[in-house]
């Protein structure tokens, strides 16, 4: 399968199944587009009429270009057949029963009252609650017991607002550090926070213990404060920004993401990215809102072209700032062409419900944080393990080849079938696809690859 597109002044050709990326001239672009439909003679004749004489292009140039395409096909870098379907279920089968990541919902409560929150202001459509140390400790033991030979274990402190249960977070990290060596594991912790309760103690702890921190900021003050308000209705921007700046400065280069959400109120989210940059943040993530259909914050069909254009402008901004020596990272444009995931990872889909689960304050297990509160998805609990094996099987069988809609999509080996929660909320099935999200994803991938190609061509080192 081939995908070709023009962006940022480059003609880009992707050979999906080998993972090859080619930057080509106009002649090659047109030859590749029709290579499989036409005979050599027929195609050469058409291309010669189109190009010979233009910009000094000769008949020999066209023939040489055709031969280069033939040669790339022979070396499996163009038109590589898709032979991966039989392997699609292998990784999850091979690792059946192994869990390597948990999202600990340490606080089903929040000190903000954001109407667009997918977790219904942290309560996940249930009661307010915080996780006890005993439940959290059992969750960590459950993870260790079920992690098989995996060394790297990921644990995210999530909510609601996890800093509303900070003492338990600290105790759990201390416990994990006590046992990880003896158990042959490495815990990688992440903290996702709205920032209100950040203080020097939190900063010191987070920068010592957290592999990553995810800091919620929507960008411009008026955009952020539209949704991210406290229970008195006051915006939070002015209170959190100085705290985030202090935390990031003290972080000394360790991973963090400034994570924003864009909604119908700001499809022109590049202005919010710009605000984050102006505030001194360089590791950025900006996510389309996840909400119920019909919610006022929902992105509309009219927003789509605006959002797609913003992604392109964002790519241009990244290239420009890199050239100026002021680079920044955008989470969705991070792509390592020479060292990205292997094919097993690319076809087996998200680990939700299999390698990854969410734990509620009461110790119930869910396939991921986005399913918490939907009782039929409850998989079991941290004492008895997974008992709802039918639902787990559903998630285990989720892979890119299990989604008929993905069959002909060029982006399938970059997205691996996408998010089960998005699919479920859009279609009622975890094996459906959230088409709006797909459109955004494909554009992001085109931009990400263009930015990477531009870097390689202009700065080969």
């Amino acid at each position: 399968m081939i995908h070709q597109y023009k962006l940022g002044g480059l003609n880009i050709v992707l050979d999906i199944c080998s993972g090859s990326v080619h930057v080509v001239d106009e002649v090659a672009y047109d030859i590749i587009a029709e290579f499989e439909q036409k005979s050599r003679e027929e195609l050469l004749a058409e291309i010669k009429i189109r190009y010979v004489g233009k910009d000094g292009i000769t008949e020999e140039d066209v023939e040489e270009c055709y031969d280069q395409v033939v040669s790339l096909k022979k070396s499996n870098k163009l038109f590589t057949p898709d032979t991966f379907a039989p392997m699609a279920g292998e990784l999850k089968q091979k690792t059946g029963g192994v869990i390597k990541a948990l999202c600990l919902h340490v606080a089903h409560t929040c000190n903000l009252n954001c109407s667009y929150c997918f977790a219904s202001q942290g309560k996940y459509h249930g009661e307010r609650a915080v996780m006890s140390f005993e439940v959290g400790k059992r969750a960590l033991d459950f993870l260790i017991e079920n992690s098989g030979t995996r060394r790297n274990l990921e644990v995210d402190f999530f909510g609601g607002e996890p800093l509303m249960n900070f003492d338990v977070v600290k105790e759990l990290v201390a416990y994990a550090r006590r046992v990880e060596k003896e158990k042959g594991k490495i815990f990688r912790f992440t903290l996702t926070t709205n920032g209100l309760q950040i203080n020097d103690d939190v900063i010191e702890f987070a920068n010592r213990e957290m592999s990553n921190v995810v800091l919620s900021l929507d960008g411009r003050k008026e955009i952020h404060d539209r949704y991210r308000v406290d229970y008195a209705g006051n915006g939070s921007w002015e209170r959190i920004v100085p705290k985030f700046q202090k935390l990031v400065e003290a972080r000394g280069g360790k991973n963090y993401y400034m994570r924003g959400t864009f909604t119908h109120a700001n499809p022109d989210f590049l202005k919010d990215i710009q605000t984050m940059l102006d505030l001194g943040f360089t590791e950025l993530s900006m996510e389309p809102v996840v909400c119920a259909a019909g919610d006022p914050s929902e992105l509309t069909a009219d927003d789509l072209p605006i959002v797609l254009e913003q992604y392109e402008k964002l790519a241009e901004l990244m290239i420009q700032r890199r050239r100026e020596g002021r680079p920044f990272t955008f989470y969705h444009y991070m792509i390592d062409l020479s060292g990205g995931p292997c094919i097993y990872k690319r076809i087996s889909g998200c680990g939700s419900g299999t390698e990854y689960m969410a734990v509620t304050p009461w110790g119930d297990l869910y396939p991921c944080h986005q399913f918490v509160g939907e009782e039929k998805f409850c998989l079991g609990n941290i004492w008895d393990g997974v008992t709802n094996t039918a639902t787990q099987k559903d998630f285990a069988s989720c892979n890119v080849y299990a989604r008929p809609d993905c069959a002909d999509c060029w982006a399938k080996l970059y997205c691996s079938g996408g998010c089960a929660a998005n699919a479920y909320h859009a279609t009622g099935s975890v094996r459906g696809v959230y088409e709006y999200g797909c459109k955004l994803f494909r554009k992001r991938m085109e931009c990400a690859i263009m930015v990477a190609a531009s870097e390689r061509l202009n700065d080969p080192s």
Binding site: D156, E287, D336, S352, C368
Partner: protein, 50 residues
């Protein structure tokens, strides 16, 4: 005349031989939390990822 510049990329077909160690990030959880993609994840298998 150079019509095609091929960037160095990981060969996905070859990665079938040594891949699948399962040590890499398992979901969006440590990052965006709302939209899974795997293109931006890192391979953790440093011995095989050549």
């Amino acid at each position: 005349m150079k019509h095609i510049q091929t960037l160095e990329t990981r060969n996905l077909c070859d990665s079938a031989k040594n891949g699948g160690c399962g040590e890499c990030q398992t979901s969006c959880q440590s990052a965006c939390k709302t939209s899974c993609g795997i293109a931006n994840q890192q391979c953790e298998n440093t011995t095989e990822n050549k």
